[in-house]
């Protein structure tokens, strides 16, 4: 094992996880651009490593969300049909695609995330519409520790949610990110699922979506253990630090700084697609 290289990758993965955890975006959003831009790693190996890392993160995170019933297993399984199928399609395209396509799509996603971070408007949805039909038996409830009350909800617009889920899966499969960036707002704003239940359900789903991606990248030999192992450890440790920092620092106060980082990484990837390298990049 090359200890120095592993420590470098581990440290970078930890930083990616701290940033991702503070923003609720997951480590993959930062990990892939940093590995490709600053370490010169082939984007397909970076995406493969990210997918495995997202799986392990989801395994750890889901345990907590399931314990406190934030996860809705019925909703997760229904939406997962769409996202898993989308992820396989996205991954099959991703392993064959010209790296420039990955740079462009990833760059566009990061620029979108940066812009939406600045103009984000959070909408709290906490109650089920009275008398709302629930033919799919998707309604559920959880105990919200913040208000010490049960919060019930019945998801609506399920068909639209599944449709967007396919798109989220394709992006996840191509880029090795979890897809929570898309699914949490979709569940919250479109399907009227409370934020905590949306995050809990999404965290559970992200593991299954990324598994679909990871095995496709494994099948083409794009899983590099020298990258995956330090990344798993780094992201695990960084995630712990990030969640503690989030409790002390209001991430929203740093929104502009985070948005600038995302914008820089996104524009760098877009420029890389056209053969332009920013100073200091590999």
């Amino acid at each position: 094992m090359d200890i120095v290289y592993s420590l470098e990758i581990g440290a970078v993965a930890a930083v990616a996880a701290i940033l991702g955890s503070m923003l609720g975006l997951g480590g993959g959003v930062f990990l892939v651009p940093i590995l490709t831009l600053f370490f010169g790693i082939d984007p397909k190996f970076a995406v493969g490593a990210s997918a495995v890392v997202v799986v392990t993160n989801s395994v750890v995170g889901s345990t907590n969300h399931l314990r406190i019933r934030f996860t809705n297993p019925r909703l997760a399984m229904l939406l997962q049909i769409a996202t898993a199928a989308g992820a396989i399609a996205g991954a099959l395209y991703g392993v064959l695609a010209d790296p420039r396509v990955i740079y462009i799509v990833f760059g566009a996603v990061l620029v979108y995330a940066a812009v939406s971070m600045v103009v984000r408007s959070e909408r709290q949805v906490t109650a089920p519409p009275p008398g709302a039909p629930d033919s799919l038996q998707l309604g559920a409830a959880f105990r919200d520790p913040a208000i010490k009350e049960d919060v019930g909800y019945i998801p609506i617009n399920v068909g639209w949610g599944m449709g967007v889920g396919v798109g989220a899966g394709v992006i996840s499969g191509m880029l090795g990110v979890g897809g929570g960036v898309v699914m949490v707002p979709v569940m919250n704003l479109l399907m009227r699922v409370p934020v905590k239940a949306a995050v809990g359900t999404s965290t559970f789903m992200v593991g299954m979506t990324s598994v679909a991606t990871a095995f496709v990248f494994y099948s083409r030999g794009f899983i590099d253990p020298t990258l995956v192992v330090p990344a798993i450890i780094g992201v695990f440790l960084g995630g712990q630090i990030g969640s503690r920092l989030t409790r002390r620092i209001k991430a929203q106060r740093l929104a502009l700084l985070f948005a600038l980082i995302l914008l820089y990484l996104g524009l760098s990837l877009l420029l890389r697609a056209f053969g332009v390298e920013m100073p200091g990049q590999a």
């Binding site: 094992m1 495995v52 799986v55 392990t56 989801s58 395994v59 750890v60 889901s62 345990t63 399931l66 314990r67 019933r69 996860t71 297993p73 019925r74 399984m77 229904l78 997962q80 049909i81 898993a84 199928a85 992820a87 396989i88 991954a91 109650a127 089920p128 009275p130 008398g131 038996q137 309604g139 559920a140 409830a141 959880f142 105990r143 009350e149 049960d150 919060v151 019930g152 909800y153 019945i154 593991g207 299954m208 598994v211 679909a212 991606t213 990871a214 095995f215 496709v216 494994y218 099948s219 083409r220 030999g221 794009f222 899983i223 590099d224 253990p225 020298t226 995956v228 192992v229 798993i232």
Partner: protein
């Protein structure tokens, strides 16, 4: 999960509260499913982490360089049997990747046991989709 309904609450508020109580009861009926999924994920992560630690220690002690590409699944067990650190690390990576798949099996089984055939079937569809991806990796 319980709540007290006050008699002087407006009718619409009571309807909403009743809805929440029913939804809470419905969620509680899934308790065996939640417990089984938590156990699967918890032990899946623990065993994967133990395998990973074992592989890293073996690689450091034997000064064995890791490959830049994970070995095909069919070769991993043979590599582990031969005592290669890279085989143990590949197995750890696969273990992590298979943990959510195992969780889907557990969720499907529990939906079935609880009499929720519809979601048992939907979980099996998810499993079949993930199976496509696993099959691709097996045929590498």
């Amino acid at each position: 999960m319980s709540e007290v309904l006050l008699n002087d609450e407006p009718e619409s508020a009571q309807a909403m509260a009743l809805g929440t109580a029913e939804l809470a009861a419905r969620t509680e009926r899934l308790e065996p499913l939640y417990d089984a999924a938590v156990k699967t994920l918890f032990w899946g992560f623990r065993l994967g982490a133990a395998l990973l630690a074992l592989g890293i220690v073996a690689a450091l002690v034997k000064r064995e360089p890791l490959g830049r590409e994970a070995d095909p699944i069919a070769d991993v067990i043979a590599m582990v049997r031969a005592g290669h650190a890279s085989g143990i690390i590949d197995l750890a990576i696969l273990w992590f990747m298979l943990t959510p798949v195992a969780t889907v099996i557990v969720v499907a089984a529990n939906f079935w046991r609880l009499g929720d055939r519809r979601y048992a079937l939907l979980s099996l569809i998810v499993l079949a989709i993930l199976g496509v991806s696993v099959t691709l990796a097996l045929n590498r």
